[in-house]
Amino acid sequence: MNKLAREDVLKLARLARLDLTEEEVGEFSRELSDILHYVEQLQSVDISGLKPTNQVTGLVNVMRDDVPHDYGYQAQELLKNVPAVQDDQIKVKRIIE
């Protein structure tokens, strides 16, 4: 790696469900290559014997009792930002032909 070709950019955009303009495809091909080139320096670090860190304060599997908590919200209130609602449900485009 390290140059992102046009096809690579389009494939990533597809994976991320992003519709890009022609201009953006060109720009990202150049810019992402630069950024990936910059982060390549990590390949030179000696990491033998080290494990990756995902959580910095050492917490592991924080659990709580499995009991529902009533926060007092009404369905309509929570649905007020939804672009399309029908019968108190989120309406989306047909997914099965």
């Binding site: 790696m1 992102l4 950019v9 990533l12 955009a13 994976l15 991320a16 469900r17 992003l18 519709d19 890009l20 303009t21 953006e24 990202f28 810019e31 992402l32 630069d34 950024i35 990936l36 910059y38 982060v39 320096q41 990590l42 390949q43 670090v45 990491i47 080290l50 494990k51 990756p52 860190t53 995902n54 959580q55 910095v56 304060t57 917490l59 924080v62 709580r64 926060y71 919200y73 209130e77 929570l78 007020k80 930002n81 939804v82 672009p83 399309a84 989120i90 989306v92 485009k93 047909r94 997914i95």
Partner: protein, 476 residues
């Protein structure tokens, strides 16, 4: 620079409101007027004046009844617009969230309100907090009051300018890679990044969940300490929260004499603007004169921190931004022929360029075939950084260095080169990756622009760090 009148200390305001010597309604009006008078700086996206006025009246009435209000009685504050609030919209300065009205509030806002504080406005940021200058806001670029042709830093540029212009006594920001400290440095105010998990992230628009923290921007350390004292601690709505210090964060003990302070070698060398270096060196000299034992400390992997960050951060961003799908909230493309097109067009049109750039990088480093080489490797170098900081804190109590390698840069200067823009964060990101607390203090001026001094402490040593900072502030 034309600023509104300076506010008294937060504790002082709350005390006077509680005793009926100041009225909360007057404080809110003062804040709203200051916001109107300083529109030219584009610090504020929208006010939350309806709820603010109602709450102010309620506070004043409660005082009249003789009720106990709280430690922030009637104190106006401003939040970065990535905090969910009940009044007004929460946009994260992004087109995709334009029009979004939150059904609940951030825990941090709830805790401040419970002590009588009043949110008056939502401040500008780089959209989704992606940036170092506020130029990535989908709405407008906030101007630095020291020089309107320059950026205020970012991503919490709006909150920093709000505090500098005295629009409110304090503001809240978020800091994922430096987003509180960098604008604090560029605007000459105090910006605090707590230990990871010390303040609940519930109700704050997520950027990179493993490094996101919430903190105050204020005029001085005492105000920061009080706000942190109110906001911090465990929250059942954020499972990564940690216990607060049993002594809290107020009543600080000046903590400098005899303390060992390590000057970070890697931050004082190449890449640091000479004028910034001069101011920082003189500030460190003052700490030494006050009795601190100052020595140089080296953390050899620090130059890798930015590369680690720009793998991990976009990875988490790409994951966190997948929720913006045009179906449940936010912008939705109306003419889609099917669900897939609804996703791709809503996201393609709704997201700004930097959000897309980070989603693309994140998707790449997490994708099959590249995950080990990029993401996992970055997480492992992160471990190395953590170990180096741990080793350094065996030798010294605090670490010190500049907050940023430069003073506020010109608007437009770095826009065409994303990598150059990312380099603004080179001295702040390591702190986020290792989860330690850090503060940016005004250290002095260079060519009419503020320079920030950054102090760091081990995880959970927030109280001691604030004590050290309070002493340092008095010397600078």
């Amino acid at each position: 620079m034309q600023t509104a009148a300076k506010w008294p200390s937060i504790a002082d305001i709350a005390d006077k409101v509680s005793h009926g010597e100041l009225k909360a309604v007057d404080l809110v009006e003062r804040s709203l007027k200051a916001i109107t008078d300083t529109k030219e700086y584009d610090a504020i996206i929208a006010t939350t004046e309806n709820r603010a006025r109602e709450r102010a009246q309620a506070v004043d009435q409660a005082v009249q009844r003789g009720d106990k209000i709280g430690r922030l009685a009637g104190v106006p504050f401003i939040v970065k617009d990535n905090f969910l609030t009940l009044d007004g919209e929460t946009t994260a300065a992004s087109n995709i969230l334009k029009g979004f009205k939150a059904p609940y509030q951030a825990t941090a806002v709830e805790r401040l309100e419970a002590e009588g504080a009043i949110c008056v406005a939502k401040a500008n940021l780089d959209a989704f907090a992606h940036g170092s200058s506020t130029e990535n806001s989908d709405f407008m670029v906030t101007k630095n009051p020291y020089d309107k042709t320059r950026v205020p830093g970012g991503s919490s540029g709006g909150p920093a300018v709000s505090v500098l212009l005295n629009l409110a006594p304090f503001a809240l920001g978020t800091d994922t890679g430096g987003s509180i400290r960098l604008p604090a440095s560029f605007c000459g105010i105090v910006g605090y990044k707590p230990t990871y998990g010390l303040v609940s992230r519930s109700g704050v628009v997520a950027m990179a969940s493993s490094t996101d923290v919430i903190g105050p921007l204020t005029r001085d350390v005492a105000d920061t300490a009080l706000v942190l004292d109110v906001m911090s601690g465990k929250d059942e709505l954020d499972s990564t929260t940690i216990e607060r210090d049993s002594n809290g964060y107020i009543g600080l003990v000046d903590d400098l004499k005899g303390k060992r302070i390590g000057v970070i070698k890697e931050y004082m060398g190449e890449g640091l603007q000479p004028n910034v270096k001069t101011v920082v060196e003189s500030a460190i000299q003052k700490l030494k004169s006050a009795g601190a034992e100052v020595k140089e400390v080296s953390l050899p992997s620090l130059p890798m921190a930015l590369a680690v960050y720009y793998v991990i951060c976009p990875a988490e961003v790409s994951s966190n931004l997948s929720r913006y799908d045009g179906q449940r909230y936010g912008y939705s493309y109306k003419d889609a022929k099917d669900l897939d097109e609804s996703y791709t067009k809503s996201r393609g049109i709704g997201f700004g360029k930097e959000a897309k750039r980070r989603i693309m990088i994140g998707t790449f480093v997490l994708s099959s075939g590249y995950y080990d080489a990029y993401y996992k490797r970055a997480q492992t170098v992160r471990t190395k950084l953590i170990q180096e900081f741990e080793a350094a804190f065996k030798e010294v109590d605090y670490l010190v260095g500049p907050t940023a390698p430069m003073t506020a840069f010109k608007i437009g200067e770095n826009v065409s080169d994303p990598l150059q823009m990312y380099l603004s964060d080179i001295m702040t990101v390591a702190v986020n990756l290792v989860g330690i607390p850090a503060i940016s203090l005004p250290a002095g001026m260079s060519d009419g622009l503020p320079v920030g001094l950054q102090l760091m402490a081990p995880q959970r040593d927030d109280r001691a760090l604030l004590g050290c900072a309070q002493k340092a502030e008095a010397l600078l």
